[in-house]
Symmetry: C2
Subunit: 427 residues, 2 copies
């Protein structure tokens, strides 16, 4: 991670208004965590070298790219949730970056504006702002929120006092009238993006963006499919990292590099080369998203000798499992396709949300899982409440379930490790 | 409360499937609490005798009325939130009863299905079901939920496995398209109620219901207005009780009795007769609803010598402050009027929700408040997060604010009393 402290970046960070001493501390902590979690692994695919590089430049080169893009008149848009269609952002000629945060930061300041009992994801998102340590956030010309959960919905009101913010209303059901409301929100977003960029979103630019983002998802699907093999050709934490980076890296480059990684994984599957040992206990994790650099549970499972073979979460299958139809010829048809794809994501914010249970069961079967871990952040009401039905449905298929509720701190790692080890032994 | 244990009710409670020993314990506890909180007051309006009687028969006479109504073919509908238009229920010839619960009950069972960190209101609602102690719930032929907050939205999925449930989708914003969605939800509710009852909702029946419920709200408005006087002619806890009982009592009878109470309050204002001492510190409470029998904060404030003069909450001004327009001639026009009135309620589940701040400031001024208490239940994300903006706006008008976060337990009463006493002294 030493490159990130290069002097040329410091001028850029200063220009962005970052708190340099604290930002140094953050980068050092993330670098240390990355080294401990990732670089200690053996039998890694060579293709992970790209993600190692991306992480070593997480606040460096990528920020410089955004910075230069903006200097040349480009617009950067920050998002917090995969319901915000990145195709629209790209079709307007802007770049989107995911801003969900996975580390405890500046909670002392956060608790002055948010309830202490907010989930770690929301506290982290606010802490990165209040602590002035996130260059992605500071590069954003516009933030786009969404009404997925109470915590984020209300926190955006506070965030919106600090940076320009547009909030999309995600409906809470999936009936025809909800699809219409959601479609109109996408139409509104097109207007917002056109006003921000001065560009027009037309059938040509939207079609190109749809294909481009589908290509990214297709690359991630290839990686996900390779994990069905025993031994798995890639560790769960490496695969998780790929999805996390998908939210902020340059799209065509990322797609290319992930296809290269997928090529390698397919070769490894053919030759029986594993990142984990053959016969390692296979776990599917379902639940709340794991934002960068939240690798805690994957690390615990894999240090205990298990292997995570799938994530039914927003930083997982919910992001890449389905594509936007490329059959649309007109702008209207493409908007229909976007509305359909995005509303079909099965977040626990919907009621009912039976589709998620189907997804978990299907993944557990397709990936030959030995058990399921139902993961939620403390105070994540939607996933914590839905856990009751999800866990019951999984148990009904005779698969064991371990329920984990935690946050971003390292305080409970020893306790969680003990529980995970006992769970893996039982499988 | 001794009448509630009359033998004829026991047969009815058994028929409803109540857990009689536990139900006895609940009634005894509520009776004791009522005696301590209410019957120890001095200078009460005589009109409160009606509410004393209602409370003494809370699971007795009123349940018998519902029971007899159902025996004669009537339908009873349970609701948990004031966004569910009771006018529609009544226009279909059914009776609505509010089911929000304000006491800790069967939390051991609740925590097997809901996150321990759910708010007290939701845990109580589930505990009354799982503990089989709520005859209103068991008399309900249909429950109608709404998507106000994450906790209730997801808990309804579990409740819906135990009793027939229809959930209305409340939008999260208040734009024209949200009004259209909400209006369509009201239209859907009419269909649901027509199928349940076999009756048709027409312009005549809906008009009658609108006027009837408006009359109830007008009576409550008179009581609220009388509280602007110094001394206040009625204690805050007595006024709170009136709103709480408004959700389940017979509508025309309740309206009549509240108008009688209002007549008396207006006479007391004219003669300068107070329930509290003249010059007592006047407090407006804003925040999460206080479901029966949650009288905790009002009791603390008034035992400390203050007087609560208004509640900006669902068990308060949000319920009765605005009326449904009676100008509609057609069913469509009346549905428009209902959609408008209900969507104009300022719950913290909306984003943004600036109207609530206006309401709090206006009430504090109109009621000549010395201070505001911002009250929320622990884990009530929407109100706890909105508290940041509300409290700031109140302080900007130079009014002191005390923020209280609590639950239904009595454990923190001494601590809260100390804080409230210090706050009142400061005013």
């Amino acid at each position: 991670m030493t490159e990130t402290a290069a002097p040329d970046y410091r001028a850029m960070w200063t220009e962005l208004g970052l708190d340099l001493p604290n930002h140094d501390r953050l980068l050092e902590a993330v670098g240390q965590l990355y080294g401990d979690t990732y670089l200690t692994q053996v039998n890694r695919p060579e293709g992970m070298g790209y993600l190692d590089f991306v992480m070593s430049e997480v606040h460096g080169l990528r920020i410089k790219e955004l910075h230069d893009f903006r200097a040349s008149g480009g617009k950067v848009v920050g998002t917090y949730c995969l319901y915000v269609p990145e195709e629209i952002i790209r079709a307007a000629g802007a770049w989107g970056v995911g801003l969900c945060a996975g580390a405890e930061w500046a909670y002392d300041k956060v608790e002055q504006v948010l309830p202490r009992n907010s989930c770690a994801l929301i506290k982290s998102m606010m802490g990165f702002k209040l602590g002035s340590v996130c260059p992605y956030l500071e590069e954003a010309d516009l933030l786009i929120g969404e009404t997925t959960c109470d915590g984020k919905k209300k926190a955006y009101e506070i965030m919106g006092q600090m940076q320009p913010m547009h909030v999309m209303e995600l409906p809470q059901m999936k009936r025809e009238k909800d699809r219409e409301l959601w479609r109109s929100e996408i139409v509104d977003l097109i207007g917002v993006m056109e006003r921000l960029t001065g560009n027009t979103v037309d059938a040509e630019s939207l079609k190109a963006a749809i294909v481009e983002v589908n290509d990214k998802r297709r690359a991630l699907q290839r990686i996900a499919a390779a994990r069905a093999a025993d031994p798995s050709p890639i560790s769960g934490k490496d695969a998780l990292l790929a999805t996390q980076v998908a939210f902020y890296d340059d799209v065509p480059r990322f797609t290319q590099m992930m296809n290269t990684l997928a090529d390698e994984l397919e070769e490894r599957v053919a030759s029986g080369t594993g990142a984990a040992a053959k016969g390692a206990k296979r776990v599917v994790i379902t639940g709340t998203p794991m934002a960068l650099p939240n690798w805690k549970l994957h690390d615990i499972v894999e240090r205990a000798g298990g292997v995570v073979v799938g994530e039914e979460m927003c930083t997982g299958s919910r992001y890449y499992d389905t594509l936007v139809s490329e059959d649309g010829a007109t702008l209207d048809e493409m908007i229909d396709a976007l509305a359909e794809k995005y509303l079909d994501i099965n977040c626990a914010c919907f009621t009912p949300n039976a589709g998620r249970i189907d997804d978990v069961l299907r993944m557990a079967q397709d990936l030959d899982a030995d058990g399921v871990i139902d993961y939620s952040l403390n105070f994540c009401t939607t996933y914590q409440t839905e856990a009751h039905a999800v866990d019951q449905a999984v148990r009904d298929t005779k698969l064991p379930v371990l329920r984990i509720e935690t946050d971003y701190s390292a305080e409970d790692v020893a306790q969680l490790s003990t529980r995970v080890e006992a769970f893996l032994e039982m499988l």
